[in-house]
């Protein structure tokens, strides 16, 4: 999907609410701040790292939010919550929990009309990836402990029908 054809775009203020949620998470869980890169509009295929979690968004806004991270970042994060023997199951669990926490926390500003699903988590890259149609995708780069992860926010006001990317 070309970003230039997106009929809906995420308001900058909404994006900044996600940035606040990301920073709060790393501050609270690890007491080590994350560095947030400049968010950018995604064109073409999304970069997915080792483990990815997806949260569906319905209600006042519709779409989805992806959190994708490399194993070493998830392993280090697990260590901060006293999980010192990382497994793939634990990595998937924390990846889903991070996405759930980011998207749940933004309801403080966006309100209960921002309704979220339970996370769906996968490793690697699926054969088919579905994105909401005509909805811009913004990537928020996150660097924590020199490890890079991404939050991809694809939500808009308009009804978001899924289409293959």
């Amino acid at each position: 999907m070309s970003s230039t054809t997106a009929s809906t775009s995420l308001h900058q203020a909404t994006l900044s609410i996600f940035v606040q949620a990301i920073m709060r998470y790393f501050d609270r869980v690890a007491c080590i701040p994350a560095e947030i890169g400049t968010p950018f509009l995604l064109e073409g295929e999304a970069e997915l790292l080792d483990v990815t979690s997806v949260i569906g968004v319905t209600g006042d806004l519709q779409g989805c939010v992806f959190f994708t991270a490399p194993r070493p970042l998830l392993d280090e994060l697990l260590g901060h919550i006293a999980e010192y023997q990382p497994t793939d199951e634990l990595r998937c669990d924390i990846c889903g929990e991070v996405a759930n926490t980011f998207t749940g926390n933004v309801r403080k500003q966006l309100g209960p009309g921002f309704m979220i699903s339970v996370p769906v988590v996968f490793s690697g890259r699926p054969e088919h990836l579905l994105w909401p149609k005509n909805t811009a995708r913004y990537v928020i780069p996150i660097v924590w402990q020199s490890k890079r992860s991404l939050l991809i926010v694809c939500i808009g006001d308009a009804p978001a029908a899924l289409s293959a990317n």
Binding site: E97, G104, R107, V118
Partner: protein
């Protein structure tokens, strides 16, 4: 005292267990969704429940209602990432005793449980 931890995330269940069990609770069970929580609750009859909201099969709000019908004096603390005031108000109005937002620190979790139990003993 008996504690039931309900959360679809294993790492959260384990974190709550590690933090609360050694000092505050003698027996513990866990459940990963609302339906399983109700089964465990009926069999275990816990004194305290920590309850997530966003879960598969049955969410925490529906679960809260069911649990309080079974045993109305159970102390229930919502542990959720949903940070909007209206979710907390809804849960507390329905009968939850405490609400703590994820991500939480161990100290905040212990303080929230102690506050809930202290309020219960005063009243």
């Amino acid at each position: 005292m008996k504690l039931l931890i309900v959360d679809d995330s294993m790492i959260i269940r384990r974190a709550i267990e590690r933090t609360l069990v050694p000092s505050l609770f003698d027996e513990i069970r866990t459940a990963a969704d609302g339906l399983r929580a109700i089964e465990e609750f009926k069999d275990f009859m816990p004194d305290v429940v920590t309850l997530d909201i966003t879960m598969p099969h049955m969410d925490g709000i529906a679960t809260l209602e069911e649990l309080l019908q079974i045993k109305p004096d159970t102390k229930i603390m919502i542990v959720s990432a949903l940070a909007d005031d209206s979710t907390a108000i809804e849960a507390l109005t329905m009968g939850a005793d405490q609400f703590i937002c994820k991500p939480f620190t161990n100290e905040e979790l212990v303080a929230a449980v102690n506050e809930m139990l202290a309020f219960d003993s005063i009243s």
